[in-house]
């Protein structure tokens, strides 16, 4: 059975650390079950249960929102609240959905089912745009504006893995500033953001000759016709609702940038979809440790300098060092540390999980 080991590990670690955080006494269990096995398809269920504080029924839905944490203050103080939100998005990325059951005071159980066919060929997506691994032609520069860190992280990681250069913005004003200083090929714009919302930012762009022609994909949590027509009137070329359906997103990006996607024909020995940075492009452990120390200290200038040195050393490091440089320029100290720590240990691209 083949799984995207890195992503699965990230999901399980997030869910387990969340369970541990909310459990003062008792236990946290991880159960993996083989649900069904037929030729070419194996279904595995994953369950993370705890005997912790539990979740009130009316909070079961909000628990997955970024920065939303239930429980008392003592527990709330501990984390950033991104873990569950990121886990849900990663699980959706693998073509599944996370379930939660909980009784207040007795603990919670988070579960999801992964089908290896869904992962190997991404069944839902594969029909249309599934196993996209990159695109042909010169490198394109995308600007992503979203005020929620989890959304920026997940989406930018995916786009970077596909070979895009991605600039991030926390709000419409920052998007506008970034776009003016360097015109992107395409903009992904969240509608609802503080300081300046997506609609206002798009209207400003329409008024600027340099930015008028840059296609914008509006992203909104509100799936109403009204919101869609507002966005299109403000200048958006496409409208997607959140949570983002990735095949649709790829389709729109492909259409607006007029790029041809590279699709992977998979067999059992193939490599995972999101691998581009992971494979050869990561500097050796010693260099990574130097980057990690600088990222820990939060010294943006020093880390940028180090990344530039590494890029000169080996051109294969470029996607990785570009990303580091870009984060350091945006003072994204947290995202930077996360990125460096994620790659600081050697990662095996694929591993056998379960029975096959």
């Amino acid at each position: 059975v083949q799984l995207d080991q890195k992503r699965l590990r990230q999901i399980l670690l997030n869910l387990l650390s969340n369970a541990v955080k909310f459990t003062d006494q008792g236990r946290v269990d991880l159960r993996v079950k083989l649900l069904s096995q037929s030729s070419g398809e194996v279904q595995l269920s994953f369950e993370i249960s705890d005997t912790g504080t539990g979740i009130l029924p009316d909070q079961l839905e909000t628990v997955f929102r970024p920065f939303e944490q239930v429980g008392d203050m003592q527990h709330r103080a501990g984390g950033t609240g991104l873990g569950l939100s990121i886990s849900r998005q990663l699980i959706q990325l693998l073509g599944s959905e996370i379930q939660v059951q909980s009784s207040w005071g007795h603990g919670s159980c988070f579960s999801f089912v992964l089908s290896t066919v869904a992962m190997a060929a991404d069944r839902t997506a594969a029909a249309a745009d599934g196993s996209v691994v990159g695109y042909r032609g010169p490198r394109k520069h995308l600007l992503l504006a979203d005020d929620i860190e989890a959304n920026r992280t997940v989406l930018s990681e995916i786009l970077i893995a596909l070979g895009f250069e991605v600039t991030l913005a926390n709000d419409g004003l920052e998007a506008l500033t970034n776009a003016r200083s360097r015109i992107p090929d395409l903009i992904l714009m969240d509608v609802r953001m503080p300081v300046m919302g997506g609609l206002e930012a798009m209207r400003h762009m329409q008024a600027l000759p340099d930015l008028r022609e840059v296609p914008v994909i509006a992203l909104s949590a509100e799936a109403t016709d009204e919101k869609q027509s507002d966005c299109m009137a403000a200048g958006a070329k496409a409208f997607l609702t959140k949570p983002i359906d990735f095949p649709t997103l790829f389709h729109e990006i492909g259409r607006l940038l007029n790029v041809t996607w590279i699709r992977e024909i998979r067999n059992t020995d193939s490599s995972p979809v999101y691998e581009s940075i992971e494979q050869s492009g990561i500097p050796d452990p010693e260099q990574m440790e130097a980057l990690r120390v600088l990222a820990k200290a939060g010294n943006m200038r020093a880390i940028r300098k180090k990344a530039e040195e590494l890029a000169l050393l080996n051109k294969h490091y470029r996607p990785f060092t570009d990303r580091i440089i870009q984060l350091s320029i945006g003072y994204e100290s947290k995202a930077l540390l996360r990125l460096v720590e994620k790659h600081a240990q050697p990662i095996k691209p694929m591993e056998q999980v379960g029975n096959s």
Partner: protein
């Protein structure tokens, strides 16, 4: 204040602010003035970073998501590793109560936002020198002279 005193050249300053545009102004100016500049985007990251690196001075924004600047400062002052690091608030708040709250939380000074970079630099130099004086035991007159030079610079 055109010459940086030898004791403060190369000092490390940690700036905690959630807005990249604000960071950009301060970071560029301070790096141009020979400081090592570290950044953090919120209070918790700032506290962790301060504990790890033990910078010579912390510049702290008041209004941030998560724990605010006042609480961040209190936590820095409650930790033996970071207690003695001078904290200067950067605040858009004009309210006297907030200024008092800043000092009550343990700050040594504050600058109003948007700040004049020259003023910021002058205040940083003063507090770095004060701290240097404290730890090396130079007499009080140095402090008085620095205060004078600060009021001239501002």
């Amino acid at each position: 204040m055109s010459n940086t005193l030898p004791a403060i050249a190369g000092c490390t300053i940690l700036i905690v602010d959630d807005i990249p545009a604000n960071l950009a102004v301060a970071v560029d100016y301070l790096e141009a003035n020979q400081f090592q500049v570290l950044v953090a985007r919120d209070g918790e990251e700032g506290i962790e970073r301060a504990g790890l690196v033990q910078p010579d001075l912390v510049l702290l924004d008041v209004m941030m998501p998560g724990i605010d600047g006042f609480e961040t400062c209190r936590r820095l002052k409650a930790n033996a590793r970071t207690r003695d690091i001078p904290v200067i608030f950067m605040t858009a708040l004009a309210d006297t109560r907030d200024k008092v709250a800043a000092f009550a939380a343990g700050a040594v000074d504050y600058v109003g936002k948007p700040f004049q970079v020259e003023e910021l630099l002058a205040r940083i130099k003063t507090h770095l020198t004060l701290r240097h004086t404290k730890t090396t035991g130079h007499p009080e007159p140095t402090v008085a002279r620095l205060r004078d030079s600060l009021s001239q610079a501002v």
